[in-house]
């Protein structure tokens, strides 16, 4: 059997060629997250973790909780779940997350699409007339809107997101391929925007491969639901995922190199000279939340789909 440097059986083969056992994989994940937290979190911060009961946010929540407990003065920490009401998927991850938070004594706030918008995502998808607007566009816009509002109203100064290396590669490719370079200029490990209504978003897992998190999840959370969003395969993101994974097979290390180059060289250049495709930040005429257009994406979708104003 292939072995880790410690002599125990290897479970993960990194793109750099290193073989790692389960314990050392977890240790590495923790070191990644702790290093990011040390870099970006201040002693005055109040933390909210966007959690879903999935493998990534569960790992992140546990590591942030552990890091926080080791501090002399633990920071306020809570988890936020936006329940879209996707049948056959969300009810399982929600149940797992609720038990997880109860076990670790982490306050959890749950906000549902049904309460906030008057409809869950499945119903919204049925009334969608324009099939060019993907489920991810609709779901993503409302989830981000609600996450920001709930985190802000909870007094959070940092909103931690569990986006991993693969997520970020897919997002970057999507933004570039759709000509949305302006969006690419607003991402990164820490996204801060000059608006009091935006809670700065922070992604401690940005350099962690999804496969590593999957293996960590399989080894550490036996009851973790392994369900995937049923809408995933209709999305552009899924196409990017397959493309990036195939390319990684041919050129191991491509994903990490791409994100490191993006964070080090491309993002600073975009932030210094914002591209025209991004739009300037302003207040939405309908809801007053930050927007890159006169009417924010959430309100546009809400009006198109006949939903009530999000009320977190």
């Amino acid at each position: 059997m292939d072995e880790c440097r410690c002599g125990r059986p290897a479970v993960y083969h990194g793109s750099g060629g290193r073989l790692t056992c389960g314990d050392h994989l977890s240790e590495w994940l923790r070191s990644q997250v702790f290093a990011e937290l040390k870099k970006f979190i201040k002693s005055s911060d109040s933390l909210a973790v966007a959690a879903s009961g999935g493998k990534d946010s569960t790992a992140l929540l546990e590591m942030v909780h552990d890091w926080n407990c080791e501090r002399n003065n633990p920071l306020p920490l809570k988890a936020i779940l936006i329940d879209e009401g996707i049948t056959g998927y969300r009810e399982f991850t929600r149940k797992f997350l609720e038990k997880f938070c109860e076990f670790h004594d982490i306050p959890l706030t749950v906000v549902t699409f049904r309460e906030s918008l008057g409809s869950n995502l499945d119903s919204i998808m049925k009334r969608r007339k324009d099939s060019q607007v993907s489920s991810c566009t609709i779901c993503g816009a409302f989830r981000r809107y609600l996450l920001n509002r709930v985190a802000r109203e909870a007094g959070a100064t940092k909103l931690l997101l569990a986006h991993n290396l693969d997520d970020e590669v897919q997002t970057l490719l999507m933004n570039l391929f759709t000509g949305n370079v302006g969006q690419a200029g607003r991402k990164g490990e820490l996204s801060e925007t000059p608006d009091d209504l935006f809670v700065p978003r922070f992604k401690p897992l940005i350099r962690v491969p999804e496969k590593a998190l999957t293996i960590h999840g399989l080894l550490h959370y036996p009851s973790l639901p392994d369900r995937e969003c049923p809408y995933l395969r209709e999305s552009l993101r899924y196409e990017m995922r397959l493309m990036a994974n195939e390319y990684e097979t041919l050129h191991p290390g491509f994903k990490l190199k791409l994100i490191n180059t993006y964070l080090r060289d491309i993002l600073p250049a975009l932030q210094k000279t914002p591209p025209k495709s991004g739009g300037n930040l302003q207040k939405c005429e309908c809801c007053g939340e930050p927007a890159s257009q006169l009417i924010c994406k959430t309100c546009q979708l809400r009006q198109t789909l006949g939903l009530k104003a999000p009320d977190a």
């Binding site: 059997m1 993960y12 073989l19 997520d167 995933l232």
Partner: protein, 66 residues
């Protein structure tokens, strides 16, 4: 060698040449490395692991959804 393979919750028997690794099996099944976690006889392994006849290999999809 004959292997029992479980993929996307479906089981099948696969025949490979006398010697091979999980990677060889994945290539035979057209599986992309970063899309699946191999579990050999109940244990998570890497794609470099050698196989022998009678082995049971389950491929767990790297599922999205943070």
């Amino acid at each position: 060698m004959k292997l029992e393979v479980e993929l996307e919750k479906k089981k099948q028997t696969v025949e490979l040449k006398a010697r091979g690794t999980i990677k060889d099996l994945m290539d035979h099944l057209n599986l992309i490395l970063d899309e699946y976690v191999p579990i050999l006889n109940g244990t998570v392994v890497t794609e470099l692991e050698n196989l022998k006849t009678g082995d049971k290999v389950k491929f767990v999809r790297v599922w999205s959804g943070g």
